[in-house]
Subunit: 336 residues, 2 copies
DNA sequence: CACATGTCTGTGAACGTTCACAGAGTGAGA
DNA sequence: TCTCACTCTGTGAACGTTCACAGACATGTG
């Protein structure tokens, strides 16, 4: 009835089975060349003793840890506000767990955080890194490269000389689809509210928008937000003041679209009668706004799955992996 | 320019500093009894070699891992939909990082997951466990107890014989405050929509509600939801049908309140003129509904901080810690 | 029968730390 | 001067694995 009774080791199992620890190690690691008798005896002994392998000892010799780090390098508040992130986190955790690798969560916000993360990674405490919303200039990326730690980003990392492998939704094509949809509904003066242009979602969705309408036509119809609700509200107000005649707006995220809706209501415009509003993400807020948002669904789970797959491939020795870009889907509700 | 150059060990540092590894270990672990000369030499050598301690080797001898597991035992979708959870996760990660312990995220959804989690924990791969939304009957809890792994819950774990230490918001008193507020605004027929009664938030908030209004008065004014938006909508509709005359409703979560708002709108009731709506959580949805929700703010960051503190105390050898209950705060917006 | 090949097993030596111990040097107090 | 306490240092032995090696035995092949 002691609180901490000593954990059985591989030696205990070997003794209980009457077999050497070498053979025990072999069945643990699924080696061929183990007699069925030995295997049975060992499996019984494992069950009896309640043995579970000590990963530290194993890591010490194999130089593999069986864990990967998920590193958030956004100032945290912004990111955790993002509903997409939860999906990503959940899916990644599950996918990794299936392969028996565990996920350690790290936040690299300010300088001190960064150092800690780097120390951790350079210490070889993770076999690989899942990068979330990392900016191109982030010194973490270079350090990672130097340290030779496999890394994959969830979402494109813009403007890097030596590109980081990634999986992402097809933001550009998604934006095109939405813009075409709005145009197809007869809207003639279509504006857009972008996310920050140093993020892939901000940049690529704007590109898609311009692809469809042309650079000239959109000159005065672009406003910038910061992925927050409030930012969307401000940008919408600005747009209405600058160009009162707009009859549609493609907003670069659902959360900003919720803000835009508020600004439109405040300005006395009806949605979708006066102004049609299209969002992006198909996150939970899309159905909680009034009216519910027409938006682009991102295959977030698949993005997470693919990100994990790429990372595991890299860890397993693939020298190079190609980025994965997944299609988005238009979800029509009431706002457009 | 090789991809993986060998990581320096404590021996390399010792050699570079011209001092034995024992002394290097001592400065690493902040031992007194190290001459300033030696310390300086070693610190220089550490910087030069880029040495970082191998935690596995350390864990192997110390039997401490420097990490704790955060275990989610809710069917995951529900939980990740919960905006509170993000706050918790972020705060816990940061707080732990400050103490240089890392957080590994585990999802114990179905049976297979559970086994994996238990194996991990019994393997001694985490120094402690942070439990999130764990139910009383969960076999994980017994297993944890048997294995002697320190565990602290974020939020009360209901109905357990040997209670799990926890930190939580004062749900019951918060519910009382909200109910009193609604009554104080002249509302006479106040209903409630609860969360599941096997969760502390569901049960305690209902208790607080009944505390204020009395068991008799509330008999027909209670409906149950499941913490989802949809659940809130259904419960509200049910309530309206059962007792059309209600003029206020206290909803056990903001998300359900958003659903209730939709049901009220569908039934043609104005909020707050006809029916006042009070939520709970003060999560992000509270400001994105129309009208914005009057709600109870939970000090979630403090809850997370305290949970972490309790766990670290336990890990550091505190034999027993007392639960921590933190006050909530009324946030008045437009819905009531 | 000799020999190669394939299967199975045990053993010693790592992996990179910490910890306990022993010993050396220094200064103070008797 | 001797002793004691304190400070500082080095060394050997763990911690629990995996891995390479060597050897035993069986089976098949020429």
């Amino acid at each position: 009835m002691r609180v901490t009774r000593k954990r059985p080791t591989i030696h205990d199992v070997a003794a209980a089975a009457g077999i050497s620890r070498g053979t025990v190690s072999r069945v643990l690691n699924g080696d061929r060349y183990v007699s069925t008798a030995a295997r049975a005896a060992i499996e019984r002994a494992i069950a009896e003793t309640g043995y579970v392998v000590n990963r530290n000892a194993r890591s010490l010799v194999t130089q593999r840890t069986g864990s990967v780090a998920l590193v958030l390098s956004e100032p945290q508040e912004k990111l955790f506000e993002d509903p997409n992130f939860s999906v990503l986190l959940r899916t990644a955790t599950q996918r990794l767990a299936q392969r028996d690798v565990s996920l350690v969560l790290m936040i690299a916000g300010d300088g001190g955080d960064r150092d800690r993360v780097m120390r951790y990674l350079r210490g070889g405490h993770a076999d690989g890194v899942l990068l979330v919303s990392t900016h191109a200039g982030d010194p973490l990326l270079d350090a990672l490269e130097v340290a030779g730690v496999p890394a994959v980003a969830c979402g494109e990392v813009l403007g890097r000389r030596s590109p980081i492998p990634y999986a992402a939704a097809d933001d550009r094509e998604g934006a095109r689809q939405m813009t075409r949809y709005l145009a197809g509904r007869g809207r003639r003066r279509i504006a857009t509210i972008t996310g920050p242009l140093d993020t892939p979602g901000g940049l690529r969705r704007l590109e898609g928008f311009v692809d469809v309408l042309g650079r000239r036509a959109t000159k005065k119809l672009i406003a910038h937000g910061d992925y927050t609700r409030r930012g969307g509200e401000v940008a919408m107000a600005e747009l209405l003041e600058r160009t009162p005649g707009i009859d549609a707006v493609f907003v670069g995220s659902d959360l900003m679209a919720a803000g835009a809706l508020a600004a439109l209501r405040a300005a006395g415009r009806r949605v979708p009668e006066d102004v049609a509003v299209g969002g992006f993400d198909d996150s939970a807020v899309a159905v909680s706004t009034h009216p519910p948002l027409t938006t682009m669904r991102q295959p977030l789970e698949r993005v997470a799955e693919e990100t994990v797959r790429l990372l595991l491939d890299l860890i397993d020795g693939a020298g190079h992996v190609d980025p994965v870009v997944l299609p988005t889907e238009l979800v029509v509700r009431e706002s457009a």
